[in-house]
Symmetry: C2
Subunit: 158 residues, 2 copies
DNA sequence: GTTTTAGGTTGCAACTAAAAACTTATTTTT
DNA sequence: AAAAATAAGTTTTTAGTTGCAACCTAAAAC
């Protein structure tokens, strides 16, 4: 039980990334998240589907629950079973997960992922995740720059 | 020298995610990537900026170079120095990184990240990363479904 | 030519991950 | 009702990874 929750200390220099990595930076976390997005809800399902060691899965599920990415609830109909389901916070990780997955698909082995995330309305695959301007134009790295908060505020006042 | 390049074996069940995680699933990889995106190019810069141990940084830089996310080139003007710079493949990780960062910002401590990624044209911050339909409409989790490759092909033929 | 800087490597202690066997509570089967 | 099976963990042991601190080597500065 009393395992230390290791905090990564990535220097919280005004960036959401260290926070995100504290919750999702562990080796299996994204794979477990994917399983959850694919509808897997139970320990044994995930264990056999991912091939992860049982103790590690137990530990990671615990952390994901602690980070409020998953919610743990015992099933009322079968009291041996536990349901792990995505919270709103967990669902909000979908763009990050899909972006990573698409990157792996494009730059890795090139094998198309399965299943494919689609629009319910027309069952068409979703667009590639990219960076968009405030007005919706897609932007490339060359169209982008880093601006300091302070300059931003000044900018807005102009 | 001979450290084993550990392969994660996440079951390549037709998904780009395991591939992405093999390259980026290590503890510090995203922080190093962020440093690179922020213009840090040299070992000592990254080391003091991130506070990462030197051997780990050396190891991670090596792997990022091996994955062709960073490129390693000795500086011609000062032959002690090495420049690490993002490749196209590395730059393609920007949406995933920004998505994670925004998630950490929104669901973590709520502190706005700094610096902010902006459109060069108008210096306005970029949009939040989200999933978009083929026609550009933004989609929520409720608007989405997983469709099997095979069904997709059938669909396209209709 | 001594010192400083850049980019590492090495040795070692502490921690973390993984595989396999075990546990405990609940269902299902006989 | 007893025995077998299932779900979700825990424990044990072994192997591998992380991180600190000190060291090293080549090139540049003074």
């Amino acid at each position: 039980m009393g395992e230390l929750i290791e905090k990564l200390d990535l220097g919280d220099d005004e960036c959401g990334l260290p926070t995100a990595l504290a919750a999702m930076g562990e080796r299996w976390s994204f794979m477990i998240l994917r399983a959850a997005f694919n509808g897997l809800k139970h320990f044994e399902e995930m264990q056999s589907s991912l091939g992860i060691a049982r103790n590690i899965l137990a530990n990671r599920l615990g952390r994901l629950v602690e980070s409020e990415i998953l919610e743990r609830q015992p099933c009322p109909d079968d009291r041996r079973k536990i349901e792990y389901k995505l919270t709103e916070k967990g669902m909000a990780l979908l763009p990050a997960m899909i972006a990573l997955r698409q990157w792996g698909e494009r730059w890795g082995t090139g094998i198309p992922s399965n299943p494919v995330l689609c629009d319910k309305r027309d069952r068409h695959p979703v667009e590639d995740i990219r960076v968009h301007a405030h007005d919706g134009r897609p932007l490339d790295w060359h169209d982008l720059m880093w601006v300091d908060q302070s300059e931003l505020v000044a900018e807005a006042a102009e």
